[in-house]
């Protein structure tokens, strides 16, 4: 028997190659379903807003451009994370492709990881393209304003010119924008992991999407409710335990809202960024583990 299996590698409990094969397949699946069209809409919004904003003073122009772009990026990636991930597992189950995959030497946790990484690859590519577009437009506008200002002030005192130019640079393209983009990716990844978890027990894509829309809104409101309840004098250990559970099920999405500060020009401290990063990774790991747990008990 074993002589027949000549070209096939020996079975390994974990194979990054299998996960990679599943992830790239999920990415190809999503790409061929033309989900990247969302990038076109983003590009149109970006170009449209940059044309409209050109008539404002540069501080206002850059601020609105950042606000619109980062806001649209956050919204589009959140939608993409939910809609694209929701269909991955139910579709495989409906088409019975899942049987063929799991009848190969593929552990169920690798299947979940493959699907998640496929969705994360899609989000990473989308965000990278959106960020590159945004950075390019902001950079071009910044260079144009710098050029204009230098031409207007070149006869003035050198100190004054340098001050003006550095003010423009500070409100233009800076490293905080990349911090914002990273946090947007983290939030979208968290939503993808949570969507994947819900899709392991959901029967249809619609159910997963509807649940995720509800979760999305609750998750934005939950920190407010949590603060309110915890301020009550009678908040005992039952209330606290319940709130902790709610906080685990519904992620605190407000914690990922650093965009407003970035747009306002407030520098994001490293400690806050690291805390947000760890919180995001914590949620992603928890939801992925929950998805694997539910998927292992699933009758196919």
């Amino acid at each position: 028997m074993t002589e027949q299996i000549s070209t096939v590698a020996k079975y390994r409990r974990f194979s990054p190659w299998r996960v990679l094969a599943l992830a790239t397949n999920a990415l190809v699946e999503l790409a061929r379903q033309k989900v990247f069209y969302v990038l076109l809409i983003f590009a149109l919004i970006l170009i449209g807003s940059s044309v409209l904003m050109a008539r404002f003073a540069f501080q206002q122009e850059f601020q609105i451009l950042k606000d619109v772009s980062l806001g649209a990026m956050s919204l589009f990636t959140s939608i993409l994370a939910i809609v694209a991930t929701a269909r991955l597992i139910p579709q495989d189950l409906e088409d019975r492709t899942l049987y063929t995959i799991l009848a190969k030497p593929v552990p169920r946790y690798e299947y979940i990881l493959g699907k998640l990484f496929g969705a994360l690859l899609l989000l990473a590519i989308s965000i990278a393209v959106m960020a590159a577009l945004f950075a390019a437009i902001l950079y071009l506008r910044e260079q144009s304003v710098l050029d204009q200002t230098w031409r207007q002030m070149r006869s003035g005192p050198p100190g004054q010119v340098d001050d003006a130019l550095s003010t423009i640079r500070a409100s233009g393209l800076n490293s905080d924008i990349f911090v914002g983009v990273t946090v947007i990716f983290l939030k979208a990844s968290l939503l993808a992991a949570l969507t994947l978890f819900i899709s392991t027990f959901a029967t249809t894509n619609i159910f997963t999407v509807v649940v995720m829309v509800v979760v999305y809104f609750i998750a934005h409101l939950q920190p407010v409710a949590r603060e309110y309840w915890l301020q009550q004098a009678h908040a005992g250990w039952i209330s606290r335990g319940f709130l902790a559970l709610v906080a685990l099920i519904f992620p605190d999405l407000q914690a990922f809202n650093l965009v407003d500060d970035i747009v306002a020009g407030v520098a994001i401290p490293m400690a806050i960024f690291t805390k947000t990063l760890l919180l995001g990774i914590f949620y992603i790991v928890i939801y992925t583990m929950a998805a694997i747990f539910v998927f292992y008990g699933k009758e196919l």
Binding site: M1, T2, Q4, I5, S6, T7, V8, A9, K10, Y11, R12, R13, S15, W17, R18, L20, A21, L22, N25, V28, E29, R32, Q33, D95, R96, T97, Y99, T100, I101, L102, A103, K104, P105, V106, P107, E299, L300
Partner: protein
Amino acid sequence: MTDLAVEVEGLTKIFSIPFRKQSITAVRDLNLRIETGEVYGLLGPNGSGKSTTLKIILGLVSPTSGRTEIFGQDSSQVATRQSVGFLPENPYFYKFLTGTETLRFFGKLCGLRGWDLKDRVQELLDLVGLTEARNQRLGTYSKGMLQRIGLAQALINEPALIVLDEPTAGVDPAGSHEIRNLIVDFKKRGVTVLLSSHLLEQVQEICDRIGILAKGKLVREGPLQELIAIEDRTELVLENASDKLMKDIEKLATKAKATVIERRRSTTTLERLFLKVTSDQNRND
């Protein structure tokens, strides 16, 4: 290594219906032993538990009680699938992939890479006759082509056991005939085949042993010839027999107190007729 490719012992599967105090027994106390190298047919009407049994053997569904082994190893272990190929009933693979991409994907899942993978994909496309359609997306494939690409993916890891769930469902007689030839070829190469079907004539042509399931229970099992033989009857097929010879035989039979029950001209099967006329037509075109 054991000589048994598949061993099922005391297998029971009960599906409980959520929110109701009801349950469905899909398989009850099933015992099955499939020898290495044989073609075993699992027969039964719809809902008799064939697919559930196959899914349990493949580790896709967990049994309520009992055990299943593949080549002596607990079949719930993922490692056992290294030597198994599976073709599900009416397979729908990823429509967005081409034939080559589909086989490459499944090959990678089995640990194949590089030139080994490339060669194996080409070899299988040739074997199932899809070389010309290799760059077409599966969304454009006919049912028969899908079944053939399904067979190819089941063979990608050179399995020692192939499990086929209704392999010819929805396929035309010519496609069905090709699949049957492939199964015969697997047998020649020493591969064990476990197939489920309700197309009895086909099963009769290729299976060494069969098991008949009804309402989740194995009601009959054994070598095909033993099961279908009628103990007190014998058939004699003659070519160019004259009327006189036939009369003499009948007389002899009567003299020996045997009864001639039926005398008729030999016929071909409708399938053979269909294959002959369609292939003749193709040749003429």
